[in-house]
Symmetry: C2
Subunit: 366 residues, 2 copies
Amino acid sequence: MKLVFEKSKLLQAINIASKGVPSKTTLEIQECFLIDATTDIIKIIGNDLDLGVETIVEGSINERGAIAIDAKSFSDIIRKLPDEEIEIENSEENKVLIKSGKAKFNLSIKNEEEFSRLPDIDKTEKIVISQYTLRETIKQVSFSIADNDANKIMMGILFEVNGNKLRMAALDGHRIAIRNVELSSNYENKKIIIPGRTLNEISKVITGGIEDEVNIYITSKHILFEFDQNKIVTRLIDGEYFDIDRMLSKDYDIRVNINRLEFLSAIERANLLSHDSEKNPLTLLINDNTMEIKVVSAIGSLNESVDIKKDGNDIFIGFNPKYFTDVLRILDSDEVTLYMTNQKAPCYIKDKEETYVYLLLPLILG
Amino acid sequence: MKLVFEKSKLLQAINIASKGVPSKTTLEIQECFLIDATTDIIKIIGNDLDLGVETIVEGSINERGAIAIDAKSFSDIIRKLPDEEIEIENSEENKVLIKSGKAKFNLSIKNEEEFSRLPDIDKTEKIVISQYTLRETIKQVSFSIADNDANKIMMGILFEVNGNKLRMAALDGHRIAIRNVELSSNYENKKIIIPGRTLNEISKVITGGIEDEVNIYITSKHILFEFDQNKIVTRLIDGEYFDIDRMLSKDYDIRVNINRLEFLSAIERANLLSHDSEKNPLTLLINDNTMEIKVVSAIGSLNESVDIKKDGNDIFIGFNPKYFTDVLRILDSDEVTLYMTNQKAPCYIKDKEETYVYLLLPLILG
């Protein structure tokens, strides 16, 4: 094998393929990149078996071939090379020579035949979505997955297609995040669960705009995202997702409109009084025109009032402040609307069209 | 006590005074800032007893007084307040109220009488130096102090005044760094040892230019730096510094001129092959017009050649690469000159006027 690359192109491909490389595994060969130039194109593949990434990189093939090379060392070295042409070629047995300017690296390689490539995915049915929409939707629900694996399904994100509607949702037992997106065509119904952390990694690579598309293919075990020069495959989580429709209610007694950033800043200040270990409850005393925000901790207390518009009764209610900051940070409207019923019933944050619905359970105040 | 501040002014003072606050101590009161407004000026003091910082902050004194308040909580809170006026006043017993916009923090305070202020320093003799020069000089020698405290004196930096000459030096048993600076006046001879880490912290606060001055006062136990609105005091290290003049030699057999950045980049690339734990030797094979740089590790090997100008014999010599990168990173000349004698004798990096002299011991190659 003998390849020549521009540094910037190679580095970009490495950054994408890295998402598929495990940081630590028992299967050493998967800590490698597979650089595959056995055909007329050059592919770089990283695959930790839960998440596999394959990207095509521009470059000249002077001699065809494939190598498996430790991903971390290779990335570190390419990153530090001067901005010149990079030549990569098999030198001796089990060695590769990387040349750039006057620098010559001689690195060990592994047997590329042992490397597990991406699984083959059936491509008869395709779902198309804008890269921007997919990325934003992932961001808007993924923070609500559970952060420990007591329940596998809570670590996943629901991906549900119904005609031209896509619903993504995540929940952790204390809160639910739901986004409803309209697709440009009608598709067969699908309901799968994608591992949340993996989907988060994927969203970092899908950097295109509203006009750029992702093709999605779903099998019983995997989901494949194809976009630009990239293929990303992830395993699905087995099982049936929660019946979230049954958990939601349209009824409410109290509706509050509040400036999103004022509300967020006040809670962020309140959080200064709590150390990570002890989450002191955020209490909200909601009167006709103001919301009194209060947190008390060992360090001291914060009181702050924010102007609001309210329909319904006054209410005094407590929450884990993190649940509010998570939601308020990722929304981008100037104002948000809260819907509540009583001190022990969930609070909803949603827009009129229900493109987003967040359910937050209150804390029972002593 | 009742004070009013602009946020930016208060924050700047906090950032400076924080340098004196210990991250963890057995003396809880010293984890506080002392905010002292008992006279017509407002001072903020942080003091971990090895390093004490006192800074004057602009603000209105509506009522005189002093408080001791946990430095970390106070800093975190002030940083997050809106860009509005900040009011600080004693509220109840042992409490202080911090008001800004609609936010009201109520925080616990400690007994300010227990707080240890900066020691009194005799100011009869003064040394004056430019802030820029002092900061740069510290940066140029401090990386050579020993990183473990097997020898207290090796953790210090020599600060030696001889007439109008200041010499600062640091060494760790494998290398020596020396900077010679000309002062604008003549002073009485002084020879003290300043704790290296402390001096490094101090250099981060001395942000002024070449025209801005620092006044330095030295006693048998302390050194005081006075500049702008700030006072910084640090304890000295007891003992006699090494006789560095006896360690240096002016003789050499081989002189090499090399482009600093080309040399540095090559070594930085070589370092990619070594993990932090195992420092593989950097070997230099110096011929008439080129230096062949080589590192071999478990990951692979790097060969790179850099153009040089050389007087004297060819030489093959090995070093800890870190010692070279430390020096080459902080110099700013295009070219540097190396002086060597043989494989087992020190290598010197110095300029003609000896404003800087770096001595690096070679590694004995097996």
